[in-house]
Symmetry: C2
Subunit: 443 residues, 2 copies
Amino acid sequence: MSSIGQHKDSIAFKNIATHILTQGKCYQDLRVLCKTIGHRLSGSAQASKAVEWAEQTLREAGCDTVWLQPVQVPVWRRGEEHLALKFSKEGDFIDVPMSSLGNSEGTGGRLLKAPIVMVRSFDEFEQLSKEAVEGKIIFFNYPFRQDFAHTFPGYGDAVKYRWQSPMIAGKKNVAGIIIRSISTGEDDYPHTGSTKYEDGSPRFPAVAIGNKTADKLEKACLKGNTEAILKSECRMQGTAMSFNVIGEITGSSKPKDFILVGGHLDSWDIGEGAHDDGAGCVQSIEVLRAYKQLGIRPKHSIRAVMFMNEENGLKGGLAYADSALARKEKHVFALESDAGGFSPRGIETTMSKKQREQFKKYIPLFLPYGVYNFDEEGGGADVSPLKKQGVVVGELLPDSQRYFDVHHTDNDVFETVNHRELKLGAAAMAMLIYVVDQHELLD
Amino acid sequence: MSSIGQHKDSIAFKNIATHILTQGKCYQDLRVLCKTIGHRLSGSAQASKAVEWAEQTLREAGCDTVWLQPVQVPVWRRGEEHLALKFSKEGDFIDVPMSSLGNSEGTGGRLLKAPIVMVRSFDEFEQLSKEAVEGKIIFFNYPFRQDFAHTFPGYGDAVKYRWQSPMIAGKKNVAGIIIRSISTGEDDYPHTGSTKYEDGSPRFPAVAIGNKTADKLEKACLKGNTEAILKSECRMQGTAMSFNVIGEITGSSKPKDFILVGGHLDSWDIGEGAHDDGAGCVQSIEVLRAYKQLGIRPKHSIRAVMFMNEENGLKGGLAYADSALARKEKHVFALESDAGGFSPRGIETTMSKKQREQFKKYIPLFLPYGVYNFDEEGGGADVSPLKKQGVVVGELLPDSQRYFDVHHTDNDVFETVNHRELKLGAAAMAMLIYVVDQHELLD
């Protein structure tokens, strides 16, 4: 990289940052998405409204073309749900905050009453006899490890207790499952999220409780005589037609080569899906808007993709990759933002060693914006099917400290997103795309 | 630095981070400070309670010695205050959120009614004749520049309109001053903070309004016929005796050489002084507590200092430095945390070039904790008087995006502080002190 080239890039970066920080609309967009539509689980009426909103917002951002890509999505409905726990032999049943896990089965609206058996790990569960757990509600009490300096390793460590518990427990004919939320929060918000049963195994209820209730239940279980009464209506309800929403700026010299920037439009059915992943959607739109307003003409065609159904099926990511394959679209790079609208710190990618070394020459340009970490390996969930086709994928790495306090909870609302952090994340994405596009780093 | 030495440091860093993230008490300490004492302006009853709290908390943290250092502080009292604005000739006066600037004079409880003259800069004010502004209320409408990637440069740019406006305007016999708050917030919180009159000049009221009210007033002023009615009781009320609170761990090999870590105990008289600077206080205490609990024996004596009166006088910082000089105490390094309890990113210092190069060898140890920026020049306000004695000083650099949304407002409360961000900041401080102490980098 010549010093003249570096100087030109540095000016472009400054223009991008100034424009987005002072005139960016992503924060206002997020307010509209969160406050006029709210949460938007795949197949819901709100998800349909979000599709309309995304289409219109991408048009207003100045995209050359905007279109909807059909996606068949699974439909899961929550309905009413109540959990009451008895913390001691003599005590009364007490209602506690809870959330059924996504894709799980409810009690069909009937009362399920059963004793609770606490285990702290899958190993501990495996050591219990079938007789000891049959007909019982198993409390998987595995805490989120807070000793990691960043929270994603802790999430990666604990989330198996949300995802796999029904598969593991299903072998022994349990009546239901309660998990300690996959949460860093020093509070009592239950965190939902997808779970999975073994194919063909019986489907029993699986719910999450907040950390404070889990602490209380843990103490009670050590003394024995804990019981639960659960009533819930959640169930799978077939499939529905939905859409990915795509906006494109046509490339000036390589219009048939694509760079993708995206987030997912669906969210869980609690809270407002503000950080997860309204933030990624409005940031992706901001990238294209900034390019248009600043007159940056990309060499490659740049697409902003709002994926549908990341949360409980990934059908949008799969449909996009299938379409790209069928149409023989060459994707150069696919960047997702799905780790919250916090201050950007870096990017994880699947670049080869050689590509990464090439890219790292540009790090000094990013440092003034607090973006310094380009060493991590990984990429966003929605772009992972493209990775299987050999495309280099990536994900924005925002500061991770606050994410798992609010992730998949009623508390993931617009008010927890900071306007400057959100905008700076969009600016970092625009800068990253700029370097990959203008210097043809991954062609 | 040998690779064995580096490995040993790396283990020490990991132990510090794990201990503070999983067993640190700074977040609980902050809750107590904010919720049982609340805001604590110098000379107030709450400031006295905060002194007691700090002394007790430092003792419980295991300090070898804890003592109070007398500080004579100025006393400013707010009292009742009301501002009503008339936004058009025909309109009514409307009450708006406002905050008198710290150390400013009120209306003595009487009604001050005057037309408003808006200026956007000191230059613009200077160009107005005395006749044009005499007896008027001047609206200094200078917005916080949001185009900087970090917020402190924007604060540095705008804060002169809080600090100097009475000095500038006082020359032309104005009736009072309204400033647009020094704020990044997209809201209407007024931000207080110190201001200053020219010695011997008349003291007139000076108040801040929030950004939304300022936007509205700006529009109204462009049309003309704006008026204000102000009633306020704020005034200086002499001085009072107060204290810096100091806890110390005695050094093992250099007990007469000191390393200081600190924050300021006083706050403005609105909000709870959570980020500013409860955070810095509880983090400093955490450093000493972690050393004790982890069995780290520092070579130098380590002091945690809770300074009094940073906000409206700096008398604590001055008293500490005076005492150090009088007692011929050799200070090796003085680190302050006074930029909010956000995720740590780096440290600014007054190290010489040579010292900095030496120190930078240790950067790889900090990177896993997201702390990467050691290039900035500067140091905390309370330790700046030590700098004049030749001591190397520094300040923790947390992520700055959210700070000036809440700084000096009713919204600087415990709930805006994240437990992990606060703890990670304390860990970064403990690591930094560890390197400076164990490797005698600044001796």
